[in-house]
Amino acid sequence: MFLIPNAVVRFFHRMASPPHFYAFTDKVMPWLIIIFVLLTGFGLYGGLYLAPADYQQGDSYRIIYIHVPSAWMSLFIYMVMAISGAIGLVWRIKLAEIVAISSAPIGASFTFIALFTGSLWGKPMWGTWWVWDARLTSELILLFLYLGVIGLYGAIDDKRVASKAVAILALVGVVNIPIIHYSVEWWNTLHQGPTVTKMDKPSIHVSMLIPLLLMALSFKVYYLIALIQRIRIELLQRERNAQWVKAKVLEQV
């Protein structure tokens, strides 16, 4: 708390209060959508049109502009979910609990997209849709972890209790994250090693790398948009008896 400027601390304190969060996100949402559309537009144009074909895979490699950002997001969102779950457990902040559970369906979708696009690419390139190597199997376990979180939350009626249970499940599942990332280095796998996220220089030509990074950013912004929308709905449901929600509804009518 000593190193963080007061303004930042105040910002987070305000954000943790549902009415402030609701009002603030109302204002930033249009900007986020503009940024998302621009990033996606430039990313796809660069990746599908400007970037050259690969020396070995030809045009099939272009699936990385969807596959790789989705796979990154599947890990990133899991970490957000686990950390906000832990904050919810320790500090009992309602908004942190909601961030955790609202992230789960988005993360599950990205995991599914990563598995599905990888499979489509695997058939022509590897010669098979699916293999049980360490990378593919650990990513599939990640999908099951997400589904487990969603299922557990749905199974418990008291949503504050449900949030605690879900946070513990998510935190135990965190061990899977380094396993997914390092699986291609620790074991022999059919999946190739890391291209961008390694200490060395990325082994991808810069003309292909820039669209990839744009797409990665665009997916991050998309996550933010989807997360905020889900949080807003969840907040309204949980706080339906609160004064500020009543005021909001009356305002709308």
């Binding site: 490699y61 320790v90 590897w126 061990v175 059919l190």
Partner: protein
Amino acid sequence: MKPARKQRLILIALMVIGASIATAFALKSFNDNLMYFFSTTDVVAGKAPKTALFRLGGMVIKGSVERPGDGMMVRFKLTDFSKEVTVEYTGILPDLFREGQGIVAHGKLNEQGVFIAEEVLAKHDENYMPPEVKASLKNQTTSGTNK
């Protein structure tokens, strides 16, 4: 920080650490089973199963691919840059199969120590570049060896 919160934070940290240690031990004991394929050195050293099916991974040696019959049978040598194993396969090879490419074959050894593959998968590498860059890289290395 309030004592109750501190306690909860410590509990959570212990839980995550405990789960990590348990997983690390489990993975360590199953390490061999998590390997998707055996290397050619493993096969030459006799570590691979003699009679059962297993997967063999390695790089196709340049100039080793031949088609001895007039059928679909292909014979090539695989290497991990230390030991070599001869592989025979009858069937359609994946698009990425070529000399100098990493592959994973599923099959078993015959009495002569030749690996009879039932399935061949291409293992793609992590390098992405346009064909022109690849060509210029090739020129650099060949002119380098000519000197």
